[in-house]
Each structure stands twice: as C-alpha cells, then as structure tokens.
C-alpha cells in the first residue's frame, strides 16, 4: 500500500482508501504516518524556493517516462495551443508582438532614446487622435509606446488641406490606394457656419478667415499672403469675413467607399447660381484631368444649387435633347 513521500518539505500523498473512512471514526488522521506528514506540511509552509521544485519536476519527468500514455496526452494538449508565428491573428496579438519587438530592440537604452517602427507609430497616432492626450498619456507610459510629441509630429506631417484648393490629385491617389473598382464619384456640397475669426497660418503664410474672391465661381487660393504688417492691415480694411465654411465632399461609387473632402473654403454665402454652374464646369474639367468622372452633384436643397441644377443642361428638355431621351420621356418643360 503506497504512502506519502516528501521531497524537501513538499509532501505527496496518495489518497487513503475510501472504505476505511466509511467504517468508523477516522482515526487515520492521527496515525503515525499522517502525524509525520502533518509536521512536514507545517514546516514547509514557511519556506518557498524555486529550486525546491526542480526535484519535483525531475520526479514528474520520471513519472512521464514511466507512463507513455500520459505523456502522449499532455503533448496532444500542447499541440492544441495555437502557435504564434508573428502574423496577424484575430485576437489582436499583433500589436503585442510589435511592442515586444520594439522593447527588445530598445532594451538598455534610455527611455528618450527609444525608436519605434512606423506601423506602431501610425497606430499610436490613431489611438492618440481618437482617444485624446489624457488617455494616450496613460497608455504610452504603461505600454512603452511612443510619446505624445511623436504622434503630434506624425499628424502635423500629414498633408493638410489648404483653403480654396481642390484636391483631385489626392482623391485620385486615395482611390487607387484603396482600390475602388471605379473612377466615378459623386460630389456633394454644403455650407456650415463658422466663427468669423481671422488667423494666421504659418505653414502657408496666409491670413485665413476672409472670403476668397471668386473667379468664375472658383475661389482663388493664396489670396491673402501675409507679407508685411501693412498688407495684413489692408486685408482687415478690405477683406470680407467669411461666415460659412463651404465644403465639397467626394464619394466614390462603391459600397465600401469613404467620403473624401475635396475642397473647403470660406464664404459669406453671397454667390449666385451662375457661380455654382461655372464652378461645376471647372470642377468637371479638373476631375477629367485626373481621370475621375463626376457622375452627379448633390446638395441639400439650397436655393442657389437647386436653381443651378434646374437651369442647366443637366436635365432633358424639349430643346436640348442631349441625353437621348425619347420625346415623350421629357417631363420637364422650361
């Protein structure tokens, strides 16, 4: 009958046979063997040392060697643990891998001398932009991520939109990058109220906040360069403060597309439907240069745009049958 054995304080017992327990009061607790075991247990409770476990491991190995079936089962269980091979796995371990890699590379350096790879930096900037400085500060300190100034720099380096510039080139680039199956876009435009604050943009050396003058309905960019104090003052005398921001968004004709801001400029909402029409014409021309086809303009029922849409060759009329409409299909009559 097997009894307990002890290896430097650690006690291993085999369970006592069940039948004995049932018969009468359990005296076995006070048997000689158990008493000595209990003593050993009490003594071992105060000392824990890692090397104490190695003999146990050895013993386990011995047991495993003796029991082939047990070994096979353990190995089988191990195989079921997915191997992490550094690639993306759905539970997001990729981020942890990248952080680990960075930490290993930078080990031994001072915290300020750490360098990060670009993917991690970009990812962190996303978190920073969405989560804000307070959240990001906590994360960066505790997860060994890039510092806030790094993220701000990446954000600032990203191409900016300048007032009055139509970014069809960028639109084309993004459409190719994202791999939309088409070159057709829908443009929509609308305005929203802004504070009429005049500010200086050091990046472009422009005074921003005045209405850009319209040329054929198209805003003229770089109309307010801040060259000298005199010039700046003259803007304040002559310039018209913009009360609305006018935005043109492009949406590629694809179900998974994201909208892109093609242009934004300040205006005081004093433009006519002729301006709108000539701007559309100009925009169509610019877009065609980049091999983008504007299939439709869309708006929210603003009177000027509505008038522009009704007044012009966009609709089939009796006169201009350019759309190949059959005569009795013509519903609108001017």
């Amino acid at each position: 009958m097997p009894t307990g054995f002890s290896v430097r304080g650690e006690v291993y017992t085999s369970s006592p046979p069940l039948q004995i327990e049932k018969k009468k009061r359990d005296w076995s607790l006070y048997s000689r063997t158990n008493r000595s075991q209990n003593k050993l247990k009490e003594a071992s409770s105060s000392c824990h040392c890692i090397e104490e476990y190695f003999p146990v491991l050895n013993k386990l190995n011995l047991v495993l060697e003796e029991n082939k079936r047990l070994k096979e089962r353990l190995l089988g269980a191990l195989r079921r643990v997915p191997e992490s091979n550094g690639h993306f796995s759905p539970d997001g371990s990729n981020l942890l891998n990248i952080i680990l890699e960075c930490a290993q590379k930078n080990a031994g350096k001072k915290r300020k001398g750490w360098r990060y790879n670009d993917t991690l930096k970009e990812f962190c900037t996303i978190v920073f932009t969405l989560g804000g400085p307070q959240v990001y500060e906590i994360l960066s300190r505790n997860l060994l991520l890039p510092a806030i100034p790094t993220c701000s720099r990446i954000l600032y380096k990203h191409e900016s939109i300048q007032e009055g510039v139509f970014r069809f080139k960028e639109l084309k680039r993004i459409m190719t990058e994202k791999g939309y199956p088409t070159n057709k876009v829908i443009l929509s435009e609308d305005g929203t109220v802004v504070t009429g604050r005049i500010q200086y943009d050091p990046k472009t050396n422009q005074v921003v906040g005045f209405c850009l003058p319209l040329q054929n309905g198209v805003p003229v960019q770089n109309s307010f360069p801040a060259t000298s104090a005199k010039v700046i003052e003259s803007y304040f005398c002559e310039g018209i403060v913009s009360t609305n921001a006018y935005v043109t968004m492009a949406r590629p004709l694809a179900s998974n597309s994201t909208p892109f801001c093609v242009a934004l400029f300040g205006t005081n909402n004093r433009f006519s439907h002729h301006d709108v029409l000539s701007r559309w014409e100009w925009m169509n021309k610019e877009a065609t240069k980049e091999n983008i086809e504007i299939v439709a303009h869309s708006s929210d029922g603003d009177g000027k745009l509505l008038k522009a849409m009704v007044s012009k060759p966009f609709l089939p009329t009796h006169q201009g049958n350019g759309h190949g409409f059959k005569p009795h299909w013509m519903f609108l009559q001017k």
Partner: protein, 545 residues
C-alpha cells in the same frame, strides 16, 4: 444632379406639420396633422409609436421623427381615423419616394416604379391645385423647393440608370449614396471631434482645416493598417443595419424603363382618381404624361431660400458680420491719419508701448511668421504675425457654443383631459385639434366637423395669421383684441338615420369658431360608415342657447 433625400423627407414633414396651411387633396379630403393628433389622442402609443412632441415644430431637422411619422404602422392605424385618406396617401408618398433612394434592398425597377408613381401623383395633385380657384401653389401644396427636389431626384434616377447601364457598370448603381449626407457627416464629425477638442463645437476656417487633416489622417491610416490591426467600427460602417444591399447585375433597358413609367402613371392616376383629382391631358402637349412647367416656379425659389434658412439652424450670424465691418472701418478711419507719417512698410499698432513679446533677434522675410511694426513710442519691434492679426481683429463673430440649446427636446407634454370619452354632447370653452364638434352651418342646419387646424382670420401677412397651438378658445380672451379664429375641419352632414356623410367642398377654408355649438363624442366607424354617437336632439338642445 441630385438633391438630398433625407433633407427632402424632413422638408415634407415640416410642410405637413405646418400649423395653418391647408393642403387639400380633392374635394373631400385634407392632408392634415390633425389626423395624427386624433390618432395620438385616441389610440394607445404602443400601436403607432408616436408621441405628441412629434407635432411640435421644435426640432425641425429631425430625421428620425420624420421616419417615425411616415412609418407603415402609422398609416395602418390611421385607417381607423375617419377622413384621413389624404393624410395616409401623403405619408405613403413621403415614405415610398424617399425609401426608393434610401432603402438598400430594392432593385432598380422597384425604385423607378416607386419614384415615378409618386412623382406623377404629385404632378396631378399640383395641377389640380393650380387649376382650382381659391387655392395657390405656395400655400396649399408642398413647397416648390421640395417639389423641385422630387422632380430632380426622379430624373437623376433615370439618368443614373442609363449612364451606368451604358457604361456596363451595373453594380455601381448605389442610389443611397446620392446624397449630401457626407457633408453633414463631415460637419458633425468636425463639430464633435472627440475628444481633444470635444468642448469646441464652433470653429474658424483655419481650425476646420486642422480638423480636416485629422479626419483625412484617420481615414487613410485605417485603410493602410487594416491588414495589421483590427478596427471594429470600420467593419460596422459597411453593414447597412444588417441589411444586405441589393447589388444590381442588370439594369433595365430603355423599353423596360418606359414600361415601368407607364405603369407608374396608371398607378398614380388611380391614386388621384380616388381623391377625385382628375386632370384632363391638354391636347396641345406632345407628351402623354402630365407636364409641369418649372420655369414659372423658379422665381419663388429665391424666396424659398429665405424660407429654408428659417429652419436652417446655422443661419444666424449673417447679420453680425456687417456689424463687424463697421468696426473694421472705424478702425481704419482712426488709423488713417497716423499711418501716413511713418515709413512705408511699418505700421503703428497702438498708442504707447505694445505689451507683446518682442522677437528682436529674429530675421524677417515676407514668408517668415514674424513682422516688424512700430509701437506708439516710435520703437520698432518684431512680433508674431498671429499676434498682429489678433491685435487687428476687433470683434469676432461668436456664435453660442451651446448649439444643443437650439435643438432642445420639447418639454414633456402632459396628457390632455379626456373629454372625448364623455358619451354625451356638452359645451366647452376650448377646442382641441382632433376632436369632433357640432357647428351651425350657414343655412342654420347642424354640421359636424373634426377640427384639423386653427388659424387667425385676420392679419396683414400670411405669416401673421398662423396659429400654431393645438387648442383654441371659443371666445377671445378679454384682454386681447379680437382677431377672429377659424378652424379647418373635415365636414360631415347628419343624415336621417344618424349616419354622417362627408361634405364635398369646392374650397377648404377656415370656418369661424363662433359657430361652435357643442362638443360631441367621437363617432363610431361601422363598415367605413360613420355613425353619430348620440341622438341628434341632444345636439339641438345646445343649438337654441
């Protein structure tokens, strides 16, 4: 050329809920919010899911409430409200016309049928109103803005089908993208960009530029890093509320479209005939479809701009800007005499010393962010350009940041007294929209009317006459001058057997409230026949007094 469908829906809702405008649809029926009031009052909320706050015009641009209003369950429940046929049709029109663009599950043919059925119906209706003396398109019809939007969208749909079919790109027919919601979304995101600037709901142009850079960065990085990381929100964005969008493989050919449109015309005429709206086609016209001249309407569009701005929450700073100018001008005037006696490129910025940080050791060029100015003591100093601009701008146009205030939820309305549950006629001081009353008609007989709206009978302008509340006193309050109130009703005459017969009206109008006799209980509907709920003599009892 598309107009935003969501805006269109909201505008139709606004017109529908407009307090005093009458929208007649045929001689018997009126499109009115009074029917909705009746429904809310008399049916349990669980059935129609509407609240009384939907009738107030507090939050005009609320798309959700517009959607709820024209939901199918509302239309089904409205069938139990007597005389509400026109309202049901109007709500159906709102729903089907807009869902033709917004519902992702429809195919191209379904969209065309829906859009053109209701477009033709609206044209017939419009023609009828135009031809009927006493009605005007500006007051008795949907706004010309909405009507033009409907026309444009219907045409855009056909143009788009033809264009994409001829380009062999059938799968790109995605009409729910034909909107300006991207712009709205952009503004919304900019106003509530979380969370670095979440407290800043207003911005200047430059600030908007910075915000745009952030949105650009995010959208581009998301797609760039999509292979390495997971962005759950991005995936959700494309799941159209768990609906599988219908991707068309083959768009209809011209002859198919023609068939669809002809069918739609038949449907529309059927709808219109039900309301006795009959328009004889002019022999002059080449078209076999009713043609509506648009040109005459366009003069109204300008006016409409104004009208639209009324409920555009953004349109309030235009006046302030002119004030600003006067400020700038005075600044210029006071400056003029001093500017002349200093050197050409240096500017005197203030009297006395400047009080700004002097960057003496910075070299200046026209593109550097610093400029040289002279302060009041004649001393040259180098300051930041941004400081100079700050110095020069005297007053900013500030709009209140608490935008939320302007679209506050309407205060909770307490349930009105259930006087209607009373089974006997009685007299009261205040009339409510949706209730049934007996009036003495012009030939001194008794007419039954369900009140749909109130209006002042006198007033110099149309807007002056609008009475927006849903209850009205029979006798004008003592302290106020008597302006005369009228009520718009669904009219019924009482027949011998106690049945109520709908009265055909050449022109719906406001009837003086003084002709009120008494309040009667809600009539019972039996097989679509309205039955007077109380004996006629009980009403006559009040008539004598």
């Amino acid at each position: 050329m598309v107009q935003d469908t969501i805006h269109l829906l909201v505008k139709l809702k606004c017109k529908f809920l407009h307090a005093s405008d009458i929208m007649p649809m045929g001689k018997h029926h009126i499109v009115s919010r009074g029917h909705i009031a009746d429904l809310i009052e008399n049916t349990s909320k669980g059935k129609h899911k509407l609240t009384a706050s939907i009738l107030t015009q507090k939050d005009k641009m609320n798309f959700r409430s517009a959607q709820n209003l024209c939901d199918t369950i509302v239309c089904e429940e409205l069938a139990c409200v007597a005389g509400s046929e026109a309202t049901i049709t109007f709500l159906n029109m709102m729903r089907e016309f807009c869902s033709a663009f917004l519902d992702v599950t429809l195919n191209a043919s379904q969209r065309i049928s829906r859009v053109f059925k209701w477009l033709f119906f609206v044209r017939l209706w419009r023609k009828w109103i135009d031809d009927t003396d006493g009605y005007s398109l500006s007051h008795n019809f949907i706004t010309s803005n909405s009507y033009t939007c409907m026309e444009l969208n219907a045409h855009a749909l056909i143009l788009m089908v033809r264009k994409l079919r001829d380009a062999e790109e059938h799968n790109l027919f995605l009409p729910w993208l034909f909107s300006s919601q991207d712009c709205e979304d952009f503004f919304r995101k900019s106003r509530a960009m979380s969370p670095t600037q979440s407290t800043m709901v207003t911005f200047s142009i430059l600030e908007l530029q910075h915000k745009t850079r952030r949105t650009d960065f995010l959208s581009q990085s998301f797609s760039k890093l999509a292979n390495d990381f997971e962005f759950p929100r991005l995936k959700k964005m494309y799941q159209h509320q768990n609906q599988q969008p219908h991707v068309s493989t083959v768009l209809p050919e011209d002859y198919e479209i023609e068939k669809l449109i002809e069918k739609a015309l038949q449907d529309a005429i059927e709808e219109a005939v039900a309301f006795q709206i009959i328009v004889k086609p002019k022999s002059k016209s080449k078209s076999k479809f009713p043609v509506c001249p648009l040109g005459s309407d366009l003069s109204i569009t300008e006016e409409n701009e104004e009208h639209f701005n009324d409920f555009d929450v953004d349109a309030e700073t235009t006046e302030d800007s002119s004030e600003d100018y006067s400020d700038f001008n005075t600044f210029q005037d006071s400056d003029e005499n001093t500017v002349n006696d200093v050197e050409e490129d240096l500017l005197v910025c203030c009297t006395g010393s400047l009080g700004l940080k002097n960057f003496d050791n910075v070299s200046i060029s026209s593109s550097s962010p610093f400029v040289a100015v002279k302060d009041g003591n004649g001393k040259q100093c180098v300051i930041k350009k941004s400081s100079l601009i700050w110095l020069l701008s005297s007053g900013d146009t500030r709009i209140s940041s608490d935008r939320l205030l302007r679209v506050q939820a309407a205060a909770v309305q307490h349930k009105r007294n259930d006087t209607v549950k009373n089974q006997k006629p009685f007299k009261e001081d205040t009339l409510l929209v949706g209730n049934w009353y007996a009036f003495s008609s012009e030939d001194n007989s008794i007419a039954i009317g369900r009140v749909l709206a109130f209006s002042y009978l006198s007033g110099s302008t149309w807007r002056d006459q609008v009475y927006s509340r849903t209850s009205a006193p029979v006798q004008a309050p003592n302290e106020q001058t008597k302006r005369g109130l009228g009520c718009l009703c669904d009219w019924y005459t009482i027949q011998k057997n106690g049945k109520l017969k709908s009265v055909s009206m050449d022109i719906h109008g406001y009837y003086p409230i003084e002709k009120y006799i008494c309040t009667i209980p809600r009539p019972v509907i039996n097989n679509q026949i309205l039955q007077l709920p109380c004996p006629l003599r009980e009403i006559k009892r009040f008539d004598g007094t």
